[in-house]
Symmetry: C3
Subunit: 145 residues, 3 copies
């Protein structure tokens, strides 16, 4: 993981983060968020994964069902945010669209993605800590701005 | 719909807008754009829909064909813009990629999306009103910067 | 191709670029990047293509395999970046998700996309030139921030 703080205007900073072969995207983002104290950040990325696990939230069971992706895929879209969870530590929430060898697409919540050879992320901080609160209806922590 | 103006630098404001179960995304964005007088704004989001209607523009017929999505889906990508239409009121234009239970993806123009349990939007205003003009060849209002 | 520089805050500029029927997206972005001297820029877009060529990076062969898309498609997501290549000229790197008539999605690296009727791009410059270096393991130029 290589990172660079590109600039800052009144607390609005932009970071470029580039992950490399073997990096797992969600773990890297979590570590980076903790190290830099990110409390309200949006992010986008493109690149490729050697393998990944997407997930689908089953509304009846109130749980995420894993969708293993055991093949090299293009990361065609990766969008997410980082805000403080109910316990005050950063929560990284990412959704992704993956492109397979034949061009067909897979999409969902991103549980894990093992980078190969690169994942190019742009993170944009905005001042003002956002916080998640537990939502009883879904059992998920949701942003309450 | 809960909204928060995060910061502003010389007219460049960022909003976080969080929609909740039962909110219809396009109607909420239209109402928000009118209330806040948005005239040049880009947006991204992730979350989930209980159901949605995508659309595909049929070039021969010059009309959008609806694609009903009658199932809970992950909103893997949602990208759009808000600019002034030919009549001076804000036009919200959104495309989305949706992830199904098996991880397969649906994609297109977003006609409507009923949120469940959350849709986390980031809106970025840029100073300088953009305007759409009717395009004779397509019959659509297109941005003319 | 119509372009408008929306604003600038300490070197952080935002551009709106609108492509029209017949424009090829990658060639237009390359030309625009050279003309404006873009060295560190991220971009997103929505719109539609008359036809396009996606690509998938085959890790064993170390080459991109073309995926022809010979039909009108919605550009549901288009994400990319522009940084300086090893030779100092701008490299445009774009991934896209395309929506077909039946709502099914195609995703991958974008080789070319012929616009019809519009592609609405937002480009965000960040100060500080980023540069790609050749990566021996993949044979690709990768960003080294």
């Amino acid at each position: 993981m290589r990172t660079r703080r590109m600039h800052e205007v009144s607390g609005h900073a932009t970071w470029v983060v580039v992950l490399e072969t073997g990096d797992e995207a969600m773990a890297c983002l979590k570590r980076f968020a903790i190290e830099e104290g990110l409390d309200s950040t949006s992010l986008t990325a493109i690149g490729a994964f050697e393998r990944a696990t997407l997930a689908y939230f089953d509304w009846e069971r109130k749980e995420y069902l894993p969708i293993p992706v055991d093949e090299q895929v293009e990361v065609a879209s990766l969008t997410g945010d980082i805000v403080l969870g109910p316990d005050g530590t950063p929560v990284v929430h990412v959704h992704a669209v993956l492109g397979r060898r034949d061009g067909s697409a897979l999409a969902g919540h991103l549980d894990s993605g093992f980078v190969r050879p690169t994942l190019e992320l742009v993170l944009t901080e905005t001042p003002g800590a956002l916080r998640k609160q537990m939502d009883e209806a879904s059992g998920l922590p949701l942003i309450r701005p």
